[in-house]
């Protein structure tokens, strides 16, 4: 599959770093154009809803987290294991998340690198175009993603999530907070 194609291309003389940079640029460009087309076809409100359903809140994304859960050597059953598992899923982007706080009440994660603003923005001079996009993708989308994680792990009634910073919207780092729901 994807791994075989990469292997075949490397055997044919392609540089792995060139492939990685090309594919990561293509991925973030794809979802940006996906947003733009939805906005043109449906207008902001409906596009906002559809974009979030096809990206981080999608069943396909939830499935990728479900597959990851099967590979972990621990059970995801509470806030701290969810903090670890969500950080593990983020390595796929690849976004290294540092867990800077982890208690039974609250897990805080921070990232100082995200490929989306770097590979989806800078080469294309689309800074102004992307302010709205990054709010929808980087801020609202991250909330969808964590809610997707919680649902897949059966912790959606127990856990809450909010974003306190996102690199793509001008913050010095991404800062994500998982908390126990007040009522639980």
């Amino acid at each position: 599959m994807a791994k075989d194609i990469v292997t075949e291309l490397v055997e044919k003389g392609k540089e792995p770093t060139d492939l990685l940079v090309s594919y990561i640029g293509s991925f973030f460009r794809y979802i940006y154009w996906g947003w733009r087309v939805l906005e043109e076809v449906y207008g902001y409100d409906k596009a906002h809803e559809l974009y979030r359903k096809f990206t981080w809140g999608s069943p396909e994304c939830g499935e990728s987290f479900r597959q990851l859960l099967k590979q972990l050597d621990y059970e995801v059953k509470d806030i701290t294991t969810m903090g670890d598992a969500s950080a593990a899923h983020y390595t796929g982007f690849p976004i290294p998340l540092d867990i800077v706080e982890s208690t039974e009440e609250r897990v805080v994660q921070e990232a100082s690198f995200c490929p989306n603003p770097a590979f989806g923005w800078r080469p294309w001079d689309r800074g102004l175009d992307q302010f709205v996009y990054h709010h929808v993708d980087g801020w609202c989308g991250t909330v969808d993603l964590y809610k997707n994680y919680f649902k897949v792990a059966g912790l959606d009634k127990e856990l809450d999530f909010h974003v306190e910073g996102a690199l793509c919207t001008g913050f010095p780092r991404c800062r994500f907070v998982i908390e126990k729901k007040k009522s639980s």
Binding site: M1, E8, S22, G25, S26, G34, P59, F113, P123
Partner: protein, 184 residues
């Protein structure tokens, strides 16, 4: 496409930090392109039906065309695409960016023939989503690929002299996707 060195270095550092090889990360990015292309199509199909999904999906891919030309020109060190040979090379680079293995079969001033022997979008959709060649999603991919060729010809201002054809498609069950540019 040349991405800023600082971004490439930050990406490589992140890949190292999450403990993955560059090849493995490249494969994940290919899988991401395929997964979210499929998710985009399915999301619009669920909301608005097959016809609208096919239209919106094609629009997303057509949005890539100006980028393909711009980045192809940068990669080839040229400022304009004036002939079939260069158009063929730009097309090869474009399809390789989304995980195709693209062989140039014939290239003369009168005719270019390219063969895509493997396409990550097809292989991953088959493996992960059990899509079959000829399914509505696969037909949408075939139509989008064909539309990309015609749009490349138009945007390179070669529409009066060059004809684009895709007479075989992996997405429709053929052994290759064949791309032909010929003089009118």
């Amino acid at each position: 496409m040349k991405f800023p060195e600082q971004d490439v270095n930050a990406l490589l550092e992140a890949v190292k930090k999450v403990g993955r090889t560059i090849e493995a990360q490249a494969a994940i990015e290919l899988q991401a392109i395929s997964t979210y292309d499929y998710a985009f199509y399915k999301c619009v199909e669920r909301a608005d039906g097959e016809k609208k999904a096919k239209e919106a999906h094609k629009k997303v891919w057509l949005k890539h065309v100006l980028d393909y030309i711009k980045e192809g020109e940068l990669d080839l060190g040229i400022s304009d695409v004036k002939d079939i040979v260069t158009l063929g090379l730009i097309t090869k680079l474009a399809f390789e960016r989304r995980g195709c293995i693209f062989d140039v079969v014939e290239t003369t001033p009168e005719r270019f023939v390219g063969a895509i022997t493997r396409d990550a979008l097809k292989e991953i959709a088959e493996e992960l989503f059990k899509e079959k060649p000829g399914s509505p999603y696969m037909r949408a991919l075939a139509a989008a690929s064909s539309a990309i060729l015609n749009q490349l010809v138009e945007e390179c201002r070669l529409g009066e002299v060059v004809k684009a054809e895709q007479d075989k498609s992996l997405f429709l069950g053929d052994d290759i996707t064949r791309i032909i540019y010929s003089k009118k």
